[in-house]
Amino acid sequence: MNIDYVATTIAVLTFFGIWSLMAISLNIEYGVAGIPNFGKALFVSIGAYTTGVTYTRLLPILAGRDFIHPCGSTLADAIQLRSDIIRTMPVVAFVNFGITLVIAAVISGIIGFAFSYLVLRLKEEWFLALVLLVGGEIVRIFVRGYQPLICANNGISAVSQPFAFMGGRSASIAFLMLVLLIAFIAYVYSERLIRSPYGRLLKAIRENEDIARTLGKDVAKTKAQVMFIGSMIAAISGVLFAVNLGFVNTNDYVVTLTLDVWVMVVLGGLGNPKGALLGAFVIAVLDRLTAIAAIQMNMAGFNLEFNFVRFILFAVILLLMMRYRPQGILPEPNYTTEAHDNLTARTTGD
């Protein structure tokens, strides 16, 4: 074995950071507010597709260079142009990256917002899950067949992360720090959110929106807000996902991505942002560990079977967890604000 622990750690943590953003967003939406967002891949992909578009359209403008059509016969030149700008003009790369984050977040937020109103018509809550799930597929199929966005099924390569100019390990460390910072902000936000009256409102809506409505809560608006927030976070993770990979392609944003995020949230503990982090961490580590195990077993002379067993193992762990720890590793706290603590202190005090 010849393991580069540092590089592996960086890689795993980067994935952890990106996935934990997805998990945090789903945790707010489903874990707290009960909106079964089975369209995570959709909102993540919006971030990625935005990246594909800004890197081919916006980046040359910011750098003051001519636009080169990213698909077809000028493809190699367009790639060259992108890599040049990113490597030699870090400021432009950063500005472009920043704008991408903002645009992606806003577009995705608006789409999430719109969805939440669209689905007010739905009769049963879990229909929303289906609508979002297939909505993601519809968008994916559309983008895959629609040249102007990301060159249809060819995808857009050379969409590097903004620190790429630093080169080598320092670039990946810098990017990792950025990812973790963003994830941390999202985490703190969601943690505080559920510990507030807003969190209480979301929980109430999760349990019985009809009753919440008769108790004076504007359910539609609140759900729309939640979808807006969740979709924004998801799209940001999508941008990070795309630039970390350096490639935007529809093949990555399939139903399995959504299901993976669900697994993270359920595993970690619904309704608990720490659980979302933990779930993302467990999956990031488990994914890498089993991949390493597969490689090592194969090198030790076993066949390739472990690549299949890996998935079986994953499923079995998931099932066992859900079975024996249905609340997830970290269960949802019973109450929302600190009012309970105050009351307990007072009532036991006298």
Binding site: I3, A291, R310
Partner: protein, 379 residues
Amino acid sequence: QDDVETYVLGVAQPFTGPLGSFGTDFTRGIELAVMQMNAELEASGVNIRFEVASADTEGTPDGAARAVQTIVQTTGAEVIVGPLTTSEVLGAKQFADENGVVIVAPASSGIPGAIPGDNIFRVMYPPDNFAALAFAEIARSRGYENIAILHVDDPFGNGLAERFTIDFQAAGGGEVTTIAYSPEPPDLSGEATALSADVAQLSGSGNTAVFCICFLADAQKLLQVAQIDPILTTVEWMGVENLVSPDLLADAGHAQFLQSVNFISVSFTDTATPLTSPFIESFTAEYGDPPGPFTNYAFDAANIAMLTMLAAGNDGDAVTGMLPFVANHYIGTSVQAYLDDNGDQAIAFYGIFRVADDASSFIEIGTYNGSTGLLEMNE
């Protein structure tokens, strides 16, 4: 022998996901190459051995990136053979470029991968434009005036269909219609109907043939419908290299159909190369089954990678510099390699195949040389 040095050869292939069936065969080809190489090295007393570290790309770009990362970071490999498709290759590209890792992709041929100056080499399997030319030539030589194409809607299928149309019409062909189907189709009934309509319409203006640019499983689905279609059974068929597989003939009905429509295909497996039959023999001896389509490219890619490493060491940057030179001096089980500016195979020498009379296998009936444009038919 303590001073034996071991180089790890990374293998990133899809083992799971829709392309799962390819990965295993590919990896076998690579392992066979490594085995043979190690035996030679030992026999010659060279103190270097190769070891295979293979990881699963799950068939997605992201999966490919993670697979390559994991191999490189946990085994010290700097040279990776694989992945299979162009989008997987592009998924792994950024990591490879940034970390001086060399990707030797045996079968990716999509146009978006044709990028000069990167760490990606697409040895052996030529870019699709050669295959397009070959098919255009065959079509003309068989007297097809119009072609109805059914192709998979991915970089490979789109690229080939597009190029073919250009080449075919440049060679004096008539009308071409295309139907693109989405990858991994549950079934192809609707597409078959459309295809049959296209054929019916094209037949009005001349001799028409069907050109199927599809994966094996999709071809099976198509044939299941086509073999009872009143129109599709009446015209001749061409199909891409994937289909030159005994698996396609396993179904008696399909074999019979392919025979009756004069099915013709090209394959890079050129029996003219002295290495072809030894490869097939040793592969069959080792694994019990003959190699699947493309497996020979994996075998060749592994050999080029290893030979380069023997010269340049386990050092990605050195391998990047050295690889074109080695490749250009390599004779493979299919054909010689010669890399262009993009690091892609520039030689294309195809065998032309049809279904044998007993419908049990494919037999070669001619060759096509992509560099010279020479088509030779034996029958």
